[in-house]
Each structure stands twice: as C-alpha cells, then as structure tokens.
Symmetry: C2
Subunit: 353 residues, 2 copies
C-alpha cells in the first residue's frame, strides 16, 4: 500500500506510545507530522527534534516533520493546520499519570479535555474528519464482568485521569451524532509495556515510574532498590492485581490498522475498540517473566493496596480482530526481553548525558 | 449585613438568572463586577452596558462594573483578576439550550467546560477560592425516584448541555479533593421562570424560546400563534410533563443565601444544593395558571414527545433550607403574574427598537 500522499498528524508523537506508532506509520508508508510540547520527552540542547523522533528516523530511514506545540494553544494548532493538509489525526497528547491527576486535576482537565476540544475545533475548521483517539481501559471504571467488551458501560472512573478519557469519549460520541461524516476510532488501551526490539526507543518516564514494568526495569538496572507490590489479597489466583499487558509494537500496529480501516472501509461515527491481548497476568507473573528475560533478581515487597486499584482487568479483543484484522502477536516474554534490552541500552532513558 | 468591601465576580451577569442575581446581590450590599460576552443579552449601540444591567442599576440605585469578556478567552479573564480582587465567583456564563447543544456540541463543551476550566485556573492563580456554580437538575439524568435529593447518582445525561453541567461538577469535586481550602457550592436549579415584580427585567430568549414559560408568554402577547405541548401520555396526573418551577427571584435569593453561607460558615469542599420548590406542576397546570394571571387564552396543541424528555422532575429542597436557610416563597401565580407583566411591558424583550 502506498500512502505517500497522506499526511497524518500525530499529537504527542514524541512520547512512548506516540513514537512507536510514528515508527510503524513511517514503515507503512505514511507521512507524519508530529506535534509535542516535550513535557514527557527529551530533546538535546542542540537538536531540532526530540531524541525519540531522531531515533525513529534512524530506525526507519525516513523523515518526520516535528513542531513544538502545546494542544492547549489553539492559535498554534491553527497554524499547523494552515501549513499542512491532514488525512487523519492520531491524538496521543495528554497528561497520563493517574496519581498525579489526583493532585493537579485542573491541569489534567485543561490538557486532556480542553486541549482535545481545541484540536477537534481546529479539525472541524479545516474539514479534517478522521480521528484516532488514545483512550484507555480505565473508561470502564470498575468492571461489572470480564473480559471487558466495548459495549459495556463506561464512566464511574476512580480518578481524574480516567475521567478525562471518559469525558473525551462522550464529547466524541456527541460530535459524531451531529457530524455524520466524521470517523472517530477510540482505541481503549489495556496496559502497554515493552519497547522496540532494537532497544533504541522505549518508555522513558519522568521521575518515579507510575507503572509496573518501567519500575521493574529500573530495579533491574539498579536504579531503584526494590519494587512495591500494592496488595496481595485481591480475588485473583495469586492475590496480586491482574492486568492485560500488551506489547507496545502490537499497540502501535493497532493504530496503523485503525488508519488503514478508515482508508479502506470509510467507517463513520464513533467506534470504540479495545486493544489488548485478551489475557490477564498478575504482578507476580510479570516479575517472574522479567527475571527470566533479564537473568536479574527483582526484589519486591508487598505493601497495602492503592486506592482506586481494581483486582482484575482484561480485554475481549475480538472486535479489533473483526473490524481491524488486528491481533496482539507478542507475548510476555517478548515484552520483558524488549523492555530489558531498552533499559540496559538506555539506563537513563533518552538523555544519555 | 454590610459587605461593601466584598467584590463578587458574576460571569454571565447580563443574562436571565445572572441579572436577577446581580440585583439581589446589590440589594444585599455586595459590590458586583459582571462579565458577559453578550451572546444572550442586548446592548444598545450607544450603551456602555447591557440593557439588563442598566435596568438593574435603575432598580437598585447602585452601580455595576461591566466588562465585555468571553470566558473562553483566558487572557481576558486574567486581566480582570489582575484589576479586581474578588471574594467569590458566581458563575452563570454558559450556553444553555438543550436542543442546540445536540446540534453544536463542541461549542457547548468548549464554552461550558473549557470556559469554566479557564475561570477555575485563573481563580487558582489569584487565590480566589469561593465558587458558586450554576448547575442544573439535569445532572440527575433520568430520576431513579422522586423527589430528587443531592446524594442521588448524577450522570447519564441525555444531551450535551446536561453532560457539560455534569462534567463541570465532576471537575469541581476533583478540585476540592486536592484544594482543601476551596468552597464550591453547586446550585442545581430546577425550572426557573418569572421575572422581577417590576416587570423591568425578565427572560429575553434569542429566537424561538426553548422553554415552556417564555413560549407561553410570547403566545400571550400574540408573538406566537400557539403552544406545542410535547406529549400527553406520560405517567403523570394529566399526562403532560411535570416540572418543579421556581420563581427567578427565589432563585436569585438562593445565590445570595449561598454567598452569605460561605461568609458566615466558611464551609469547605464541594456542596451540591437543589434550588426548587419541592412541588411538581404539569404543563397543563402552567397553562391554566398563566391564563388566569393574564386573562388571555393560550391556544395549544398536543404533539409528540421530545426525545430525552422525562415524565417528572422535582426537588427535595430540604438541604437548601437546612444549610442556607432558604426556601422558595413565591408560587405559580406569582410566577405567571410576573412573567405576564414583563412580557406586556417588553413584548420584544430588552430591545425596544
């Protein structure tokens, strides 16, 4: 497939999921414009582009157009749409730390909801009507039953981060009710982990990692002493929380598949789609798999539950298979091996200094 | 009580509920700064202020500071907070037509949610931590049971307008979780009707009225031929929809009571409070009451239900009594008589030309 005439705008394209998706978009022949405010990405002092994007360009041998832009700045968004014609917008730019969202909720709403509204309004002004949204399994709140299917009730999220994802989905539904020509695909991610198999790009969280895998990775290279496991008295096989971990390369390919679906099938309206493997793994299973992949012992201690955490969450991934012809192909061993490779090669993330 | 040192910012203060509240604030001795973008208010070509505010000044013999400002313009909001020190913000500014919200949802989210986020952020920057929010009984969605009490579940709203009110309440809850010094009172209005007894200020809707009472009022002065009654097969005594109509002067005094409560009791956190009479009246009862008050026949026809309309809604108003020492004192005859007076004196609303 050749899509060289198709510009794709990727917001937050310098971040973890964004950069891997940009790589897969380039590999599939798309032209990509990335905007990012670099709040969660490293750019060298003398660089024109963030380090993640520079590495994506090296890995693919292709160029990315990069613009330093904050989605809360509607004027700046307008400039970008004035300069480029886009076929579709893939929207990753957002604040994403659950814990932080409880301490600075206004910023989360301003960026994740307000920023998305800016983007949608500018898209409307420039007649760009294809949108792929970075949603989350967190929109399901506390699951009524498992696996989670797309038609289940959303809302009742337990933290502001989750509420912002839910609110944007509601806004997108209402938008599609009135703008019948729009195609909106809301990809509900389960738990993205891993890195590009080259070890050149991966997750590079600011400060103390919020999520399990980057925390384990930092323990494995001696950056952190030990892992805290939040609760071992959940109603799960080993008592620790169960999640549906998905390899970042599978997640990235899910976005490309969603875009190809928009090109080939011209779907209209709001379509939520789970991106998960359909399998749940416990914290202790992840630790064991990482130890196997790395040959390192991961010291951990069991501590109390975190408020808002649920026991288990995993996807029914059949809709993605049926609509997008997408399935996750990488397993937990791949996820751990690639995280380990990335972490070893980049113990301080993208900032080598 | 003397509060002449207390500046109150009233957003949307030139509108229907805003102008009546400004009048009551002035009568209670507060100093008022009104901001309004005049999207739903009339200003004469040679006037410095909107007509509603000019009349409020005449009725009270006091001055209002007016600034033409849109809450989606954060820079403009910032200027206002730079120029004035506020004790509390009473936030009316919003788009408010349920039907319109289904056709231009993005604008509703941008103004009602995005604009409110701007306002809250600027308040935070200037350490203004008292907020009275213009919420609505619509946040209850389809009532599980009646009367509606404040602790009942909110959400599942049937239109974008209602969703914006719900989302802002969620944002305010999260804000109060982290900013313990804030006092936020969310006044959930039932169905405001009527006008100031002088007939000098009242409801002046743009175009075809969305709500029952202003429509009846326009029929009564011959501006509209007849009223459409949306459904007479609801599970109510006469089959027509039942709502809790509340006189605008009662509603206005509820805001002053909420402000006095903040001054006297220094409450903290998020507090929703219903403002209603606690009594439901049907469409046919309203028609009969208006005919009695005006001596005019109101021709009507029964048409189909409107999507999203519910059968009945009325408040449990006891929390407002307990917390604010507020009760609605005006009855349906007052509501109709004052609407009729306003409509007769101002058949074209504030625009006499």
């Amino acid at each position: 497939m050749t899509d060289e005439n198709r510009n794709i705008l990727v917001t937050g394209g310098a971040g973890y999921i964004g950069s891997h998706t940009v790589l897969e978009l380039l590999n599939a022949g798309f032209k990509v414009v990335v905007i990012d405010n670099l709040c969660n990405a490293f750019k060298g002092k003398d660089s024109q582009k963030p380090e993640s994007i520079i590495r994506v360009e090296k890995l693919t041998g292709k160029q990315v157009t990069f613009v330093d832009c904050d989605i809360t700045n509607k004027g700046a968004l307008n400039e970008i749409f004035k300069n480029y014609q886009f076929f579709c917008v893939i929207h990753f730019a957002a604040l994403k730390a659950v814990g932080e969202s409880c301490t600075i909720p206004l910023q989360y709403y301003q960026v994740n909801v307000g920023g998305t509204l800016n983007l949608l309004e500018v898209m409307k002004d420039y007649n760009v009507d294809k949108f792929i949204y970075s949603s989350s399994a967190t929109v399901y709140g506390v699951p009524e039953k498992l696996p989670l299917t797309e038609e289940m009730k959303t809302g009742d999220c337990t933290n502001p981060y989750g509420k912002t994802k839910f609110m944007v989905e509601e806004i997108l539904k209402d938008l599609c009710q009135t703008k019948k020509e729009w195609s909106v695909i809301s990809l509900r991610y389960f738990n993205p982990v891993g890195a590009h198999p080259s070890g050149e790009i991966g997750e590079d969280p600011n400060g103390i990692p919020n999520n399990l895998m980057p925390f384990i990775a930092q323990v494995s290279v001696g950056k952190r002493e030990k892992l805290s496991v939040y609760g071992n008295d959940y109603d799960t096989p080993d008592g620790t929380g169960v999640r549906d971990y998905i390899h970042i390369m599978d997640l990235a390919s899910g976005h490309v598949k969603a875009l190809v679906y928009q090109i080939q099938k011209s779907p209209k309206g709001f379509q939520p789609i789970n991106l998960g493997t359909g399998k749940g793994l416990s914290v202790l299973q992840i630790i064991a798999a990482y130890e196997k992949a790395s040959g390192k012992k991961i010291p951990y201690e069991i501590v109390g539950r975190r408020p808002g955490d649920i026991a288990s969450s995993y996807a029914d991934a059949s809709l993605a298979k049926n609509l997008l012809d997408w399935v996750a192909v990488k397993d937990i061993d791949d996820m751990c091996a690639d995280t380990w490779k990335w972490q070893q090669n980049n113990p301080n993330g993208f900032n080598k200094a």
